[in-house]
């Protein structure tokens, strides 16, 4: 019985407490809802501000990226145009440099042709002068006279003889003409060959000129800062970044092979069991040699003006630059020779270790006949790899230059994502505040309902007319009728 009363007392107490809390919440409804809404709006405002700031930073970054990209593109395009002009100049110099000689040769051929043509002109033999005499004799009426007949026969014989001689002379003349014409043939052929050569050269120059025009067009496009140029440069930088990265990965593989070639024999020089930190000194020494080789390769490429990573080297005088290139190459050659020696030593050490292991196992060490192949291959690799790694400078330069643009896009993307996230959060806080305010009303729905009911009733009471109003209305109507 006492338990029941306690239980019932507990329920009543809890109900009273709940009612008290609800009433307290009801009374504090307006300020608490204000606090919730204001706090949420303040946070949302802060987030929106942060988002706007990030968007603004991103805009500046994108702008800066574009400027840097266009600037780099302008520089590259200018270099390309310059190079194309150099190539064009070289081409003109090579192909058209001997044009005066060619022209002279052609003119000589033309003169010879002209002369031969002139010589090949036809000269018909002049008719004999006594033809008129023959006509006079032929006009004599009595042709049967023996003297006349004898004269005519004599004339006929002379004619015949003269005709034969003229024919012979004409044939000789024709032969000479043919000979001249025959002599013209080589000149014709040579002229045609020379003209064909000129045509080929001019066509090549036209093609080269088209390339120069294209380079110039790109340069102008970049110079005008067009969106199309920026887009093209962006995609170009991205492609270059990945290609250069791939080549660098391959080169890293080469460097690792190189490292393993010399790390083992290095222990003969610096000791096999000494450490710097947690790394073997021999490994570090091998790594240092490879890094020095890479540096020499970079300097060599820089001095040869193949890359332009160090402005200091690029700005050196040509003489100093050439000397520096010779020094770099000499050092590289020395290091490559050292590597070849180390690779040879590696093979010797390996054989020695194998022989020792065989002795310890109680076996007799056997020497394979094909060992010279691996030895030669290792030495060759030891000598060639440093030079091959020299070319790493080219993809490295491309990688570094394109990395600036790629990092810019990455940062821009991160900023954009952050701004978007902050915007979403701001919206969430905005709506969340309203939802919390509504949930607050749900918790105190009972007093709110009661309040609403109370207000409705009062409104109804205000709307329905009372007895006093009815009396006053009737009184006014009656007094109106009386007055009428």
């Amino acid at each position: 019985m006492s338990d029941f009363s306690l239980f019932s007392g507990g329920i009543a107490g809890t109900a009273a407490l709940a009612a008290g809390i609800v009433m307290a919440l009801y009374m504090a409804r307006a300020p608490i809802q204000n606090v919730i809404l204001e706090a949420c709006q303040a946070i949302a405002g802060g987030l929106r501000f942060a988002s706007r700031t990030l968007v603004s930073v991103r805009t500046r970054l994108v702008q800066r990226n574009r400027e840097v990209l266009l600037s780099a593109g302008r520089e590259a395009a200018a270099r390309m145009v310059e190079r194309e002009y150099e190539r064009f100049a070289d081409k003109v110099h090579r192909d058209l440099g001997d044009y005066p000689t060619l022209h002279q040769e052609l003119a000589g051929h033309a003169t010879r042709l002209d002369e031969d043509y002139a010589k090949s002109a036809s000269n018909p033999p002049a008719p004999p002068g006594w033809a008129d005499a023959v006509e006079a004799v032929a006009a004599v009426p009595d042709k049967a006279e023996p003297v006349l007949r004898q004269v005519l026969e004599s004339i006929h014989g002379s004619f015949k003889k003269a005709g034969e001689e003229a024919n012979k002379a004409y044939r000789e003349d024709c032969r000479m003409r043919h000979k001249h014409l025959h002599d013209m043939a080589p000149s014709w052929r040579e002229s045609v060959r020379l003209l064909g050569q000129v045509k080929t050269r001019v066509e090549t120059l036209n093609e080269r000129a088209a390339v120069v025009d294209e380079s110039m067009r790109k340069f102008e496009e970049i110079h005008e800062d067009t969106d199309q140029a920026a887009m093209a440069l962006q995609s170009s930088a991205l492609v270059q970044f990945f290609i250069a990265g791939l080549v660098l990965l391959v080169a890293t593989g080469g460097a690792v092979v190189n490292f393993h070639l010399i790390a083992r024999p290095m222990s003969e020089m610096v000791g096999g069991n000494t450490y710097i930190g947690s790394f073997k000194t021999a490994d570090i020494a091998a790594l240092v040699i490879i890094l020095v080789e890479l540096s020499m390769g970079l300097f060599l490429m820089e001095c040869l003006r193949i890359t332009s990573l160090f402005p200091v080297i690029a700005s050196l005088a040509d003489k100093v630059r050439t000397r520096l290139a010779i020094v770099s190459f000499t050092l590289l050659l020395s290091l490559a020779s050292v590597e070849a020696g180390l690779a040879y030593m590696r093979e010797l050490l390996l054989q020695d270790e194998l022989a020792t292991a065989a002795v310890l196992r109680g076996e007799v060490a056997q020497e394979a006949s094909f060992l010279w192949i691996t030895t030669a291959a290792q030495m060759g690799m030891g000598f060639i790899l440093p030079f091959a790694l020299t070319f790493i400078a080219i993809p490295l330069e491309t990688f570094i230059h394109s990395m600036r643009a790629v990092l810019g896009w990455g940062a821009s993307g991160v900023l954009m994502t952050m701004a978007f996230t902050l915007r979403i959060l701001a919206r969430t806080f905005d709506e969340g505040g309203k939802v919390f305010a509504q949930l607050y009303d749900v918790a105190i729905f009972a007093p709110l309902w009661a309040e609403k009911r109370f207000l409705d009733v009062r409104k109804e009471m205000k709307a329905s007319p009372g007895a006093r109003e009815m009396l006053e209305e009737t009184e006014a109507r009656l007094s109106g009728q009386k007055a009428a």
């Binding site: 003969e268 069991n273 710097i276 270790e353 292991a357 310890l360 109680g362």
Partner: protein
């Protein structure tokens, strides 16, 4: 500015301190070979193990082989000892010389009348401590049954801090077959002594599966 100078000085000092004498990373191995009584028959196995250890050792490591006889706390019992050069080629030559010395010992070994393992362990710890190697390993190729001559005091605590002691080929004696507890007690007693001295203990009886995990 002053703070910057102090910070830089502290950093430089710390850097220079870090560049001081580096800790030793080489390994010192001391192998005790029991030559008492019938255990002399096992000497061929010991020779094989020595060869395997030699093959695994690297330049700048130290290795010594000593016999366990009547009084083993003596340099005279060291059969061969070598601190290998840090050049691999020289170390290989030294390994061959070491092997030749061990071969000579194996040919001329005579059974000892007593077994002073404790003396041998003391000698091993002294040798390896003097060498100052980074890792110190003592192989005991024995049945671990001590048989001291009268008057020899060996009931003394061992100082084996940083040592790893490996008992190899701990054969069972006839008495162990009668009462295996003797064998167990022998092993436990040695383990206790080594661990009380600060060392670590390991028993390897299957020599084919012996793994050198000190590297």
């Amino acid at each position: 500015m002053r703070k910057l100078i102090i910070t830089l000085t502290a950093t430089l000092t710390a850097g220079l301190a870090a560049c001081g004498e580096p800790p030793a990373t080489n390994t010192g191995v001391y192998m005790l070979i029991d030559t008492s009584g019938t255990y002399t028959k096992e000497i061929d196995q010991a020779q094989q193990i020595i060869n395997v250890i030699l093959a695994r050792l690297e330049p700048d490591d130290a290795f010594a082989v000593a016999r366990v006889d009547t009084g083993s706390f003596s340099e005279k019992d060291i059969v061969a000892k070598m601190h290998f050069d840090d050049r691999p080629s020289v170390a290989n030559q030294q390994k061959r010389q070491f092997r030749d010395r061990v071969d000579g010992f194996v040919k001329d070994v005579r059974p000892a009348s007593h077994t002073d393992i404790t003396g041998g362990v003391l000698q091993a710890s002294e040798f390896l401590t003097e060498k100052g190697t980074g890792k110190k390993i003592i192989f005991i190729f024995s049945d671990l049954k001590e048989d001291l001559p009268e008057g020899y005091v060996r009931d003394i605590p061992l100082t084996l801090d940083g040592f790893h002691v490996i008992a190899l080929n701990v054969t069972k004696l006839n008495s162990d077959n009668i009462d295996p507890r003797e064998y167990m007690n022998r092993l436990e007693d040695w383990q206790r002594r080594v661990e009380e001295g600060g060392g670590t203990w390991q028993v390897v009886n299957d020599l084919e599966r012996l793994e050198f995990s000190w590297r």
